[in-house]
């Protein structure tokens, strides 16, 4: 333990990648728990089940697309993202552990970024990939690729949204659930115009990329969808960073 003779160089800090990687690994470690894996395992099982079903339909490709845009993007992806996204930072706040990450010579944007990345790392393999597999089972390579893109970008947007919610609200999960079950599903299906305001809506327009697939709620072209979904994620990340920088820490 060196004596504190020399004036400490206050500028010393970890390389960005090193600290980001450490925070990312921490987020993964704290998020993975038995009950969550059980739940998400069931979800991805259901996703693959859909694929199996679509195969029996007269027009499998369209059936797969419908199933993915309805169940996959509307329920499966958002539900998984709510689970991991809101608690990535939310748990640290609730357990009063944020101090061990905040009081470090590390730029503030890094924790929210690590949270979004960790959420994506958990959600994409557990939902987007099984959905893609189910589309493959339904026998259409094009739909499979479109599904992978749509689900991944939906997960990206939802991650930004729910990480920010986790930093901001105390019972973020519950509002997230209400948002998913009610806004993304009931409202989006009933009011066609509302699709433009839902992540599932924009994500399903990416599905439209697959030839011969018409997607009933198509708010805009797929290209625009990519931009919008990424923008939502970035906005979520910025809001989370701003909140994280300005809040008092226990």
């Amino acid at each position: 333990m060196s004596a504190v003779g020399t004036t400490p160089s206050v500028a010393a800090r970890p390389a960005t990648l090193v600290s980001l990687a450490a925070l990312y690994r921490l987020m993964l470690r704290t998020q993975v728990s038995l009950s969550r894996l059980l739940g998400i395992g069931a979800l991805s099982g259901l996703a693959i089940l859909i694929g199996g079903l679509a195969a029996f339909d007269s027009d499998p490709a369209q059936a797969a697309a419908d199933a993915v845009s309805g169940f996959g993007l509307g329920i499966l992806v958002p539900l998984a993202t709510v689970w991991f996204g809101t608690s990535a930072i939310g748990d640290l706040v609730e357990d009063k552990l944020l101090v061990y990450v905040w009081l470090r010579p590390v730029a503030r944007w890094q924790l929210p970024a690590a949270a979004v990345l960790a959420t994506l790392t958990l959600v994409v393999p557990l939902t987007a990939i099984p959905l893609t597999v189910s589309a493959l089972i339904a026998g259409s390579g094009d739909v499979a690729l479109a599904t992978l893109l749509a689900a991944s970008f939906a997960a990206l947007a939802y991650s930004g949204l729910f990480v920010a919610a986790g930093v901001w609200f105390r019972r973020a999960v519950w509002w997230g659930l209400a948002f998913v079950l009610i806004w993304e599903n009931v409202v989006a299906n009933e009011a066609k115009g509302a699709a433009r305001f839902t992540v599932a809506g924009w994500a399903s327009s990416i599905l439209g990329l697959a030839p011969g697939i018409d997607v009933d709620l198509e708010p805009g072209s797929a290209a625009v969808a990519f931009i919008v979904l990424t923008a939502i994620a970035v906005a979520g990340w910025l809001v989370a960073t701003w909140r994280y920088r300005s809040m008092d820490i226990d």
Binding site: V4, P8, V10, A12, P14, K96, R104, D248, D250
Partner: protein, 307 residues
């Protein structure tokens, strides 16, 4: 390190109508300083502002000359042991301390974690998760993560609660050596007996305000308006009491019965020196002589009750 590690100028903090800290100013240089005060006096809030975790509502805090709230880089030189008991239940002690070391930019975080865990008396190769650790072990892990990056400033919020006498003794000697290395260490605690052994620089807060600052012996002497009490048991209580009052060294006497008398002295040293000769003259046998509140608890109680 020339300038003081921590400088607070008229710092205040309120949460809505509740004023937790109001106009507190002090500075803390190298060595160990104890921050004392009853629960709710604003100690923890003050500590959180010192580290930049909470923004002062008024006034400024400087650590090593910089604002800890605005510049996250200062925390490279700050080591905090928070009051709350929670730790990362899913990590092992070594992983938890290594995480801190990594985020502080140490080149060999795992090695640093292992050596600092040994220093606080924990086994670095213990593979159990922190969930299985007892309160005493958790406190020592929290100390380890606070000092792993060799910080110039150490803020320790109630590090001794929940520890038994032996564990307390070990940590107190650790803190003392950290202070002797020239670090600027500020400790809050209610286990006054132990804090006394840490060193004698003291800050006392009460009702959100600074009630006293400085060396606690000098503080004790400053408090002349409340004399020191000494209990004496002798076979001739009345005679001895009368003689001491007459000699002017005792300003107040209470007879407690079966030979016990309580003396109030303006200057404790003078009374201690005068008591034996006066007793010898009167032929009074001294069975017991016991100062009642010369220790830190007396200072604490006096300062806080004086309001």
């Amino acid at each position: 390190m020339t300038e003081p590690g921590i400088v607070a100028e008229d710092v205040s903090k309120w949460f809505g109508p509740l004023v937790a800290v109001s106009d507190v100013s002090f500075d803390v240089g190298p060595g160990v300083t104890a921050l004392l005060g009853p629960n709710g006096a604003g100690k923890s809030t003050m500590f959180r502002m010192l580290c930049g975790l909470a923004r002062p509502s008024k006034g400024t805090v400087r650590v090593l000359g910089r604002d800890p709230r605005a510049e996250p880089w200062v925390s490279r030189q700050i080591g905090l042991m928070p009051q709350q008991e929670s730790v990362f239940e899913a990590l092992t002690a070594r992983e938890f301390v290594a995480l801190g070391a990594t985020l502080q930019g140490l080149s060999n975080p795992d090695g640093a974690a292992a050596s600092v865990l040994e220093r606080v008396g924990l086994d670095p190769s213990d593979s159990r998760h922190l969930q299985a650790y007892s309160k005493g072990m958790r406190q020592r892990v929290k100390v380890a993560q606070a000092i792993v990056h060799d910080p110039a400033v150490l803020v320790l919020d109630e590090p001794l609660t929940g520890l038994d006498p032996r564990q307390r003794m070990d940590l107190v000697s650790l803190f003392k050596s950290l202070g002797d290395e020239g670090r600027c260490v500020i400790v809050s605690s209610h286990v006054l007996g132990e804090v006394e052994r840490l060193g004698s620089r003291v800050l006392v807060m009460s009702q959100g305000r600074l009630a006293a600052a400085g060396d606690f012996h000098e503080l004790r002497a400053l408090m002349d308006d409340r004399p020191m009490r000494i209990r004496v048991r002798t076979d001739k209580p009345r005679e001895l009491a009368g003689a001491l009052v007459e000699a002017g060294t005792a300003v107040g006497v209470r007879l407690e019965g079966d030979g016990v008398l309580e003396l109030d002295a303006r200057d404790a040293r003078a009374l201690a020196r005068a008591l034996p000769p006066v007793a010898r003259e009167r032929g009074a046998r001294l069975y017991e002589v016991h100062p009642l509140d010369a220790d830190l608890e007396g200072v604490f109680r006096y300062v806080v009750e004086r309001r």
